[in-house]
């Protein structure tokens, strides 16, 4: 039984990070219908900025994260302005090519600035805690709690505020939102900002349990795409649920079936879900 609970907790940790990354991806997709391949690179840049703030400026972990999420949010907005905005009237394939271009640019830039080395981000919350036979570390609890709080805040923002509602409105119908007087430019920038914030937050939280290196974005971005396909492209509850489904299926699958097949399990799940619900779990009418 202990193993089951331990693995559920492990799945929760990993799933929280997956969800955060997938949320940013799905928000951008929902509004602009762009599969933002560069999202993984933003994730990586977020980790590096936190790391640099901690090592060069000696900031506390929490403040370093704050700096990082704001900077990555701004980088993300900048990316929208100088890359995606000028392309708004072109065909989708050009968006995709541009997104890949941004990905390569950011990775090469990180390689140039920080080098190829693995960097170690030291967390002040490394303590190990034993609860009812479960082994937790403060950092892992922090990941889960922060992720859930971030998700609740995002939900409240989208549902309860006027600005948030304008994002939803634009996701539902861009033309209609425009006609209703919503500034679509502003909403697009805001969406990219939130996506950048979520990516940087996910990366900064998870880096202390792994390492920081230029290609670290690859680890999660592929999974984030799987998640938003499972959950329904552009769906916010879908991204959250999908993230946890993937996290749990990996940890539970690895325990009770075989760890060599944990990826297969996740992809079989993807196929089954898509067979039953071809548009994803929370698909909107048209996708």
């Amino acid at each position: 039984m202990d193993v089951l609970f331990q693995q559920l907790f492990n799945g929760l940790t990993v799933g929280s990070v997956y969800s955060l990354v997938a949320l940013g991806l799905t928000l951008v997709y929902g509004i602009l219908h762009i599969p933002n391949f560069a999202h993984g690179a933003l994730y990586m840049v977020g980790a590096y900025i936190t790391y640099t703030m901690m090592t060069s400026l000696g900031l506390h972990y929490v403040f370093a994260i704050v700096v990082s999420i704001i900077s990555v949010g701004l980088i993300s907005v900048l990316m929208e302005r100088i890359v995606f905005h000028p392309l708004r009237d072109s065909t989708p394939i050009q968006h995709k090519v541009a997104a890949i271009g941004v990905l390569l640019f950011l990775e090469a830039l990180a390689h140039y600035i920080w080098g190829a080395d693995y960097q170690q981000m030291v967390t002040p919350y490394g303590q190990v805690i034993e609860v009812f036979g479960l082994t937790l570390t403060m950092q892992r609890i922090l990941i889960v709690v922060t992720a859930i709080v971030a998700m609740i805040l995002l939900y409240l923002f989208l549902k309860k505020t006027y600005t948030g509602a304008s994002i939803i409105a634009m996701a539902q119908n861009r033309e209609g939102a425009h006609l209703m007087g919503i500034n679509t430019n502003k909403v697009a920038m805001l969406t990219f900002f939130i996506a950048g914030v979520l990516a940087a937050l996910g990366a900064s939280l998870t880096s202390p349990i792994n390492l920081v290196f230029p290609s670290m974005g690859h680890l999660v971005i592929l999974k984030a795409f799987v998640i938003i396909i499972i959950g329904g492209m552009g769906s916010i509850p879908g991204a959250i649920l999908g993230g946890y489904i993937l996290g749990f299926s990996e940890s539970i699958g690895a325990t009770y079936i075989s760890s060599d097949y944990s990826d297969i399990i996740a992809f079989v799940l993807l196929i089954i879900i898509l067979t039953i619900k071809p548009q994803g779990i929370f698909a909107k009418g048209e996708a």
Binding site: V3, Q6, Q7, N10, G11, T13, V14, V17, P35, F37, K96, I100, L103, L104, E107, A108, H111, G115, A116, D117, Y118, Q120, V122, V128, T135, T137, R140, T206, I209, N210, L211, F213, P214, S215, H218, L219, V220, L222, F225, I229, M233, E250, S251, A254, T255, S258, S259, D260, S262, D263, L274, P278, Q279, G280, A287
Partner: protein
């Protein structure tokens, strides 16, 4: 559904693109033309290198290259004389992202464009790819991998630089079994090299009366967190964990195992280095208590190692790993072999004189002591093993 599949296809394409587009050239400089320039007897030898200089293994690639670059820089201060002509070395480096097919393409290019008699490559997949055609195209594969298969293939123009990993199986097994017990959980990395290591180690462990209670591979390019796998491994109550891969993620595995309450020993595959792992684990050997692995270069006491470590620290501002040391040393060995053979472009003749090169190697360049090269082209090195005892690196005597 179709849209989803389309997207998945695109993502795959994206990664392939990401892989290709970064395979750019680094370093290099001008294409040194072989032959005499002006009236003076001066020439340039092009030496090739193909390794991972971008992508997940870039750090490893840069470490291997740093040793070569250091040697080349030193050698070029004076140049070296072969048959009355003074030569300098021009190192041509290409990036292969750890992909064997890229290594092969790079080697063809190095040979055709720069006529390199020697090509260094630091990974077993790439080495195997080069061994397909290096004899026809006449270049030496300077193979940095302790994979035994690369010398067993009988390739006549291969030089295997590091010691064959089979030499580690016995000391590792004996030490861990005696100190911690007979139950092993094997967590090798999913790479070819890791799998081969595990396949050699597990039968040996069982022959010695041990038991393998858990066996599963870690994929450092996919797993973001090792808790899941370690929870399962530790559930089988092992005395010893077999881990490996690049030093830094390997250290993370060890660290998370300790967090989960593991108190046994670690067998560390030779790719990871204890001193580099220590750096990730808070700069102390304490969490690595009971780990056994290759002797870190900074703790070694060969005639040239202290000198090399000092020079490396001065130029790179960090401790050298064995990759850098072995590459540094082997560049000197090849230069000595060229001198002894009297040619800088006949790969066969150079290969025949490697033993002379080893014999002529000056003491201060002996970062490691390599008495001989075997029939099969592998350097025969006395493997040097160390364990962490009471928070200290302790050499383990081999019989």
């Amino acid at each position: 559904m179709r849209k989803a599949l389309y997207l998945m296809g695109l993502i795959t394409l994206m990664f392939m693109l990401a892989a290709c587009s970064e395979s750019n050239e680094t370093g290099g400089g001008d294409n040194g033309e072989s032959g005499n320039s002006g009236g003076q007897s001066e020439g340039v030898v092009n030496i090739g290198y193909s390794g991972p200089l971008s992508g997940p293994a870039a750090y490893y690639g840069e470490n291997t290259l740093s040793g070569l670059e250091m040697a080349v820089e030193e050698i070029n201060e004076e140049g070296f004389e072969v048959d009355g002509t003074t030569y300098k070395i021009n190192l041509e480096t290409l990036d292969d992202q750890y992909l064997p097919n890229e290594t092969a393409a790079n080697a063809k290019r190095l040979k055709q464009e720069h006529d390199t008699p020697i090509i260094f490559t630091p990974h077993s997949g790439g080495i195997a790819a080069l061994q397909v055609f290096n004899e026809q195209e006449e270049f030496i594969v300077a193979a940095y991998s302790s994979e035994p298969a690369i010398t067993e293939a009988g390739n006549s123009l291969t030089v295997r630089i590091p010691p064959n990993y089979e030499g580690y199986l016995e000391p590792f097994t004996n030490y861990q079994m005696e100190r911690f017990g007979p139950k092993l959980a094997a967590l090798p990395p999913v790479t070819q090299y890791g799998q081969d290591w595990a396949e050699a180690l597990i039968p040996h462990w069982e022959e010695q009366g041990g038991e393998v209670v858990y066996n599963s591979s870690i994929d450092f390019s996919k797993d973001t967190d090792f808790f899941t796998m370690l929870t399962n491994a530790l559930e089988a109550d092992p005395d010893v964990l077999f881990i490996g891969g690049p030093s830094e993620p390997t250290a993370k595995v060890a660290q998370q195992a300790r967090e989960l309450g593991f108190e046994g020993g670690f067998m560390v595959m030779d790719q990871a280095k204890l001193d580099e792992m220590k750096a990730v684990m808070g700069g102390s050997y304490e969490p690595l208590e009971g780990a056994i692995g290759t002797m870190p270069l900074v703790n070694a006491d060969y005639p040239g190692s202290a000198d090399f470590v000092e020079k490396y620290r001065a130029t790179h501002d960090k401790d050298p790993g064995s990759e850098a040391g072995f590459h540094y040393l082997s560049m000197y060995v090849f230069v000595e072999a060229m001198k002894a053979s009297g040619t800088v472009d006949d790969a066969k003749a150079i290969h025949e004189h490697i033993q002379d090169g080893l014999d002529a190697l000056p003491d201060d360049k002996k970062v490691y002591e390599i008495p001989s090269i075997g029939e099969n082209g592998g350097f025969e090195i006395n493997t040097s093993v160390a364990a962490v005892e009471d928070g200290q690196i302790t050499p383990i005597a081999l019989d």
